[in-house]
């Protein structure tokens, strides 16, 4: 059947199971926007800035496990996606960016709104392509989504000139993928898996370090089986949060710069690390030369290039985490590690990291805990980056897979609002809480309009401490309180919410925290709470950069006493 490029694109997306596109129109996209209404199966959500489209599609992909799709016009539309694409790249999120391009006869002429977006995104995409011919469009879409979703997921980009959207051709459904150079290894090598099983059987102080890969591969059940059968304590990475229930007796929190002291001690003293779907990021390992000095390391990852990148490992296993754990579980012998686990429990008692201290003022940690209690933990938490992110990670207990959505690798302030949109659109029946700092909130504040337009039932908690808190904390602790460029003169956040047509309240007393949380949740539609919190509260534990992860600083005053 003869179809236009725009129609072929829509047909292919529907065939791939795409239901939502986060987009923003522009000149060269007009043929596509003229076609989209004929495909009501594709829900178009109009964002207010293309960065928001990329973040929303990113979060949508994280909570649904499907490819997230964002759409932007040529030139500035495309460049506005770049931060969002980089964010998806560092966190291995399957994101398809579709950008319009100037008509083919203008390419290379520096035409109006022409920019080389495929060139710009080479280092931050798994694959990208400028589609110069409508005959290759269907294949390009299927290949791009296949690459984005297969092996280690990642962002892909298709740049489509206006005349390719308009050109007509016979639409032949391309279902054969032909990418001879794309060779993900999905099944671990049996002899390596055997070696890993032997190491686990003989280890005295083993620790599982579970990362984002477990969430991506949806290997939650396999991980639980592994931990329970061999009685292995589980520490997660920051993005691994929620891949193993935190209420589980074998859960020992998450490691790293702001991770739990006992998690860091467990990893540091282990004689065997079973690293699953993680990449030994510097925020997780601290000083890498002194990381887990006594441990042999089994490293399971689908990306061969991650093996041995940051440190040398003893048993590398390249494969999809779910497949590898499935094979590994068959070879395990039941064991217990009573002595080692009780040692970990002692450390947990010595370094409580998740207890909210008694305090008159509004503590951000207290708010997070109240949200946990009010929601009974049954919500998706979407965070920005900085102090609020860390408190949300520390003081909420995550039991449900993919209930924690956060920008880990790139650390993108401003991810929270569009991220919450993507999470809510992807999981409309889940409660969504957006945890924002006053800094990050203002980076993508315009997406409030998207929430209102789409009437998305999102609860937003803005932690207003009047500072760019994490940077201020570093200035306090590392730069001897030389505060510069971190004090914020903030707008009235409640008025901002109201100006966008949504409800909002301000909370500055501890007694008002819980009622406001319930008010937000009872309200249908977006709701903002501005929490006026302790201005100079710090995130602890804190491993200063470059230090070994057991050299963490803890909250200076003893629990229960007032800090100030």
């Amino acid at each position: 059947m003869i179809k236009t490029g725009a129609e072929i694109l829509c047909e292919c997306l529907i065939k791939e199971g795409v239901e939502v596109i986060f987009g923003f129109p522009g000149g060269v996209l007009l043929p596509l926007y003229d076609t989209l209404p004929h495909y009501p199966q594709l829900r178009h959500i109009l964002v207010r800035h293309e960065q928001g489209a990329a973040h929303a599609a990113d979060a949508y992909a994280r909570v649904t496990g499907k490819v997230g799709v964002c759409l932007a016009t040529s030139g500035p539309g495309a460049t506005n996606l770049v931060t969002g694409i980089a964010n998806a790249y560092l966190d291995s999120v399957p994101l398809l960016s579709i950008t319009g391009q100037v008509p083919t006869h203008f390419i290379g002429k520096d035409a109006f709104q022409e920019i080389d977006i495929t060139g710009i995104t080479v280092p931050i995409t798994k694959y990208n392509q400028l589609v110069l011919n409508v005959d290759g469009l269907a294949r390009a879409v299927h290949e791009a989504i296949y690459v984005a979703m297969t092996g280690r997921p990642g962002p892909v980009l298709l740049d489509i000139p206006r005349d390719v959207f308009q050109a007509r051709t016979e639409y032949i459904c391309a279902d054969k993928i032909d990418l001879p150079g794309f060779k993900p290894k999905l099944f671990g090598h049996p002899s390596q898996i055997k070696k890993a099983a032997e190491l686990i059987a003989s280890a005295e102080r083993p620790v599982i370090v579970a990362g984002h890969g477990v969430n991506i591969a949806q290997a939650h059940a396999e991980l639980k089986e592994l931990a329970e059968n061999a009685q292995l304590p589980v520490v997660t990475t920051f993005l691994g949060i929620a891949c193993f229930p935190e209420s589980h007796v074998l859960s020992y929190g998450w490691l790293g710069m702001h991770g739990m002291g006992y998690a860091n001690k467990a990893v540091h003293n282990a004689d065997l690390l079973i690293a699953i779907g993680m990449r030994f990021d510097d925020r997780a390992t601290g000083g890498v030369s002194t990381f887990a000095p006594q441990a042999r390391i089994v490293h399971i990852d689908v990306d061969a290039a991650e093996i041995g990148k940051n440190l040398t490992v003893d048993v590398p296993i390249v494969g999809d985490v779910k497949n590898v754990l499935h094979a590994l579980n068959k070879q395990l012998v039941k064991r217990d590690h009573i002595g080692w686990l009780s040692q970990l429990d002692d450390w947990r008692a010595q370094h409580p990291a998740t207890e909210v201290r008694d305090h008159e003022g509004v503590l951000p940690q207290y708010i997070i805990r109240q949200i946990h209690e009010a929601t009974k933990g049954d919500t998706i938490i979407v965070t920005g980056v900085g102090q609020a992110q860390m408190w949300a990670a520390q003081y909420f207990f995550y039991d449900k897979p993919n209930s924690f959505v956060s920008s880990g690798g790139l650390g993108t302030m401003g991810f929270e609002l569009p991220g919450a949109i993507g999470a809510k659109v992807g999981c409309p029946h889940e409660t969504v809480w957006c945890i924002a700092g006053d800094g990050g909130f203002q980076m993508t504040v315009q997406e409030l309009a998207t929430m209102v337009q789409e009437d998305l039932d999102i609860n937003i908690a803005v932690f207003n401490n009047g500072w760019l808190g994490m940077v201020r904390q570093w200035q306090e602790l590392i730069y001897n309180k030389r505060y510069f460029g971190t004090k914020l003169y903030n707008p009235d956040f409640v008025k901002i919410a109201e100006a966008y047509g949504m409800k909002g309240v301000r909370v500055s007393k501890k007694m008002d925290v819980r009622p406001a949380i319930h008010k937000a949740m009872d309200h249908k539609g977006p709701f903002l709470i501005e929490f006026v919190v302790e201005p100079e509260e710090n995130v602890y534990p804190f491993v200063p950069p470059g230090k070994t992860i057991v050299e963490f600083l803890e909250m200076p005053s003893p629990l229960g006493s007032l800090k100030k």
Binding site: V122, L179, G181, H189, D303, A304, A305
Partner: protein, 189 residues
Amino acid sequence: MIRKHILVALVQDRPGVLNRIASTLRRRNFNIESIAVGHIEQPLLSRMTIVVEGDDASVEQVRKQLDKIIEVIRIADITGESPVAREMAMIKVRATPSTRSEIIQIVDIFRANIVDVSPDSLILVVTGTQEKVDTLIELLRGFGIREMSRTGTIALPRGGAGPLTIEENKPLRHVVEQAAPEEEILPDW
């Protein structure tokens, strides 16, 4: 140990491949000493020879990163296989009647060829290992080199099938991996 590594890659002949390779090397902080690209006996494929300097572990790391590029079909570090490696240089050297015969003698020793003669200069072409080309250039420097151009190294491993050999009558196909039988031992992880 930091040394020169020769990476050879079989890549799909698509726009932007060279950019991706160069971008990955730059991104991982490698300086490309030379890169040579050309078609091979199979249609739609090119072979690249990339020379970079680094220690074995970090070159292996960047090789794996390069292998992730979708258009890269195979890539191997053949440094350890004592490959046959050659490059070609064209050198335009100043030649007066008094120096011309001396230059020709050097050219003979190096088995280079003179391909152009003009009243005050010669163009000569030399093929050989990088060391040989370097030595010749050093010798000619005294006469005055006016222009020169080098191809960069190309290399083939010695002996039978190399790491990039494509079996005849076996076109490259995208293969979706299936689970290996439990007993089977695969060549590497």
